[in-house]
């Protein structure tokens, strides 16, 4: 009985394995042929699903728009760019897997991603080990680019963002006593909360209480009740939009009327839907404002609206704008390097100076970070969950 079973197993499985191998081999051959087909392969990894989905989806839209424009004007070095996208589900481990796959299987020459800092921090060492340049469009935690000299970003970093919001809270809103509610699972949130606390206390403000939640939590009433008991005149919530929306709603339910403040992790149209009018009069720092009259920005907004007309997010958020800039900066580096070899592209990227993009002028410093101004936006949402951001001020570094 056992023996016959084994036999049938063998006779069944071995051809299957062989067929599988043959298939994957032929797939590899095709891929190699495809990349010789004069295309430059660039990988994008991001959260296309999950609680941070709009980050990856927006970045993807921005990247697609940029690549379309680049290819329409003849591509780079006479070759077209093709972007291969992997979904990391907003999960650091999946981000590592996605980057490993993009590098080893798809053989991309450069990487774009991630927005969420925890995911960039997890994936960056893989890019570094394989010596593939990686440009993060929107990760603001300082640790990201410390992972190695192949890791770049095209946005400002959190020490600056924390300062911007601390100044705005202390000087523009005249707040004296602010509570902090941070996401303990999230490198971005913890970092930004620390930089805010440092700067706000330096400016003479007091921190009423500093407590935390975990990404994925749904019930924040315990923390908010504890905050309410301290009677702060503002709450700094440097989290991502899904949790922030729920926090705003539950805060208002508990009768907390003070202003909520946050960072660029708030930037998503989903924030308006989840938080609703509980968010009215709240402020966050961001990379750009769609109301900025700069012609290059307005052209981008118009192109974006034309391409994504009728979709739910037809107005580009900051992640879309940063994705767009990141792709253009990568193409620019390839042109200057006159090569798509990862090492040459890395060297050219490190030399990026005064690149005029949608989110302002990008100059990469010796730590491969961009130094850029930040804007402060006010959230306005109507009862139906349709929202917009109102530009309040620009802060230069």
């Amino acid at each position: 009985m056992f023996i016959t079973n084994m036999k049938s197993l063998r006779s069944g499985i071995i051809p299957l394995i062989a067929a599988g191998l043959a298939l994957s081999l032929s797939a590899c051959n095709k891929k190699a042929a495809g990349s010789e087909d004069n295309e430059i392969l660039v990988g994008h990894y991001g959260s296309l699903t999950g609680g941070k989905a709009t980050f990856g989806l927006s970045a993807q839209k921005g990247i697609d728009l940029a690549v379309e424009a680049i290819n329409a004007s003849g591509g780079v070095l006479g070759r077209k760019i093709r972007v291969i996208t992997e979904d990391d589900q907003g999960n650091p481990i999946e981000a590592m897997t996605a980057v490993t796959k993009l590098i080893n299987k798809d053989r991309v020459v450069a990487l774009l991603g991630e927005i969420a800092s925890s995911n960039s921090i997890a994936a960056a060492p893989v890019a570094q080990q394989n010596r593939i340049p990686m440009i993060s469009p929107g990760s603001t935690n300082p640790e990201v680019t410390k992972k190695g000299d192949y890791i770049f970003r095209v946005c400002f970093i959190d020490p600056f963002q924390g300062l911007v919001m601390a100044k705005f809270a202390a000087n523009s809103l005249k707040l004296k006593n602010v509570a902090v509610l941070r996401d303990i699972k999230n490198d971005y949130s913890v970092g930004l909360a620390n930089f805010f606390v440092d700067n706000f206390t330096k400016l003479g403000g007091a921190i009423a209480t500093d407590i935390s939640y975990s990404e994925g939590d749904k019930d924040f009433t315990a923390q908010l009740t504890a905050i309410k008991a301290k009677h702060p005149d503002g709450i700094f919530v440097p989290g991502y939009y899904t949790e922030v929306g729920l926090i705003a709603r539950q805060a208002r339910k508990l009768g907390i009327k003070v202003t909520l403040l946050g960072g660029d992790g708030w930037d998503s149209s989903k924030l308006w839907e989840i938080g609703g009018d509980a968010l009215n009069g709240c402020y966050y720092s961001n990379h750009y404002s769609v109301d900025d009259p700069s012609p290059i920005l307005q052209k981008f907004v118009a192109d974006f609206k034309a391409k994504y007309k009728g979709e739910s997010d037809s107005i580009p958020d900051a992640m879309a704008a940063l994705g767009y800039d990141a792709a253009l900066i990568l193409a620019d580096a390839m042109k200057r390097a006159n090569s798509s070899k990862p090492d040459s592209v890395r060297d050219a990227l490190a030399q990026t100076r005064g690149f005029m993009g949608v989110t302002g002028t990008t100059t990469l410093d010796e730590n491969r970070n961009a130094v850029k101004p930040a804007v402060v936006l006010e959230v306005v949402v109507d009862a139906k969950g349709n929202g917009k951001n109102i530009f309040k001020e620009t802060v230069s570094p």
Partner: protein
């Protein structure tokens, strides 16, 4: 004091949801000695049924409360059917197999529902429509919303109804007989297959109610929302003594209160850790749970 009372309310409203979901675990365990790990995912399905139904039904009935009641009733029926199908297809064929087989199948069903949910509903969180417009109720310094009150009343009402059903009806009596001894119940002419299916239906309907009540209060739903809630409800059921209806309610309330008090007064970072630590300590002293009967396992 004011803030303590507010935390008490927060804890009870969280705990009442755990209790509703824990009831399903405990009922199924009572009749089959099976921990139905897919139960948390039925809770998720309930919330999604509610989501699609409220988009369909909202504004079609004369009042908001009627809207909410219709959505809830239909979702409960939907999940009851899911429960029956689940029992028929996944558990009944292997009922005679070892308990471990059943447990593994339960985990399989759970993963199936989670992944099918991500495929069908999309993996991103959805915003649950506001079925009942929010209004605030002020009690001294305490803040309550009408939603919280409705959720609490509904949860308590469902638990009382379930209790009446189990202890005051013939079918309830049959259910208790099956839970006491399946083979003996069968010999007494009880339709045990029917009773087991009914148990799954009732448990799943309660999970659906829990899913909708949570979503009325916290309007963000996603296909993995059942994972953590399911786990905590399971803990609540064990804490109270699995198989015991009152134990499930008690366990749910203790867990909800513990979580809220830890997050409110201790460190929110250790919210779950401390909640589970309480479980371990209680089980060290009362291995069969707070209200569970000590049983000698027959080997």
């Amino acid at each position: 004091m004011e803030s303590f009372l507010q935390q008490l309310i927060n804890g009870i409203s969280l705990g009442s949801i755990y209790a509703l979901v824990a009831l399903g675990y405990t009922m199924v365990y009572g009749v089959l000695r099976l921990i139905n790990f897919a139960h948390g995912d039925v809770y998720m399905l309930g919330a999604y049924f509610g989501y699609y139904l409220s988009r369909l039904l909202q504004g079609k009935t004369p009042s908001h409360l009627l809207d909410a009641a219709a959505v809830m009733l239909l979702s409960m029926i939907g999940c009851a059917l899911v429960g029956i199908v689940m029992e028929r297809l996944a558990y009944r064929p292997v009922r005679k197999a070892s308990r471990l087989t059943l447990l593994i199948i339960a985990i399989g069903v759970s993963l199936l529902l989670e992944n099918a949910g991500q495929l069908l509903f999309g993996a991103d969180p959805k915003f649950f429509p506001q079925l009942i417009p929010e209004s605030h109720i002020k009690l001294g310094g305490l803040m309550l919303t009408n939603q919280q009150v409705i959720v609490l009343i509904t949860a308590v009402a469902l638990m009382i109804l379930l209790n009446l059903f189990i202890y005051r009806t013939r079918t309830g009596k049959a259910m208790r007989a099956v839970s006491f001894n399946l083979d003996a119940a069968k010999l007494m002419g009880i339709n045990t297959d029917g009773i087991i299916a009914l148990t799954f239906a009732l448990g799943s309907a309660l999970a659906a109610a829990g899913g909708i009540l949570v979503s009325i209060n916290i309007p963000g739903i996603d296909p993995l929302m059942g994972v953590m809630t399911g786990l905590k409800a399971f803990v609540a059921a064990v804490l109270g003594g699995i198989g015991n209806i009152f134990g499930a309610v008690l366990g749910g309330l203790i867990l909800g209160l513990a979580e809220v008090m830890v997050a409110g007064y201790g460190s929110s970072t250790y919210r779950d850790a401390i909640a589970f630590l309480i479980l371990i300590v209680i089980l060290l002293f009362k291995p069969s749970g707070l209200l569970g009967k000590g049983q000698v396992e027959k080997v």
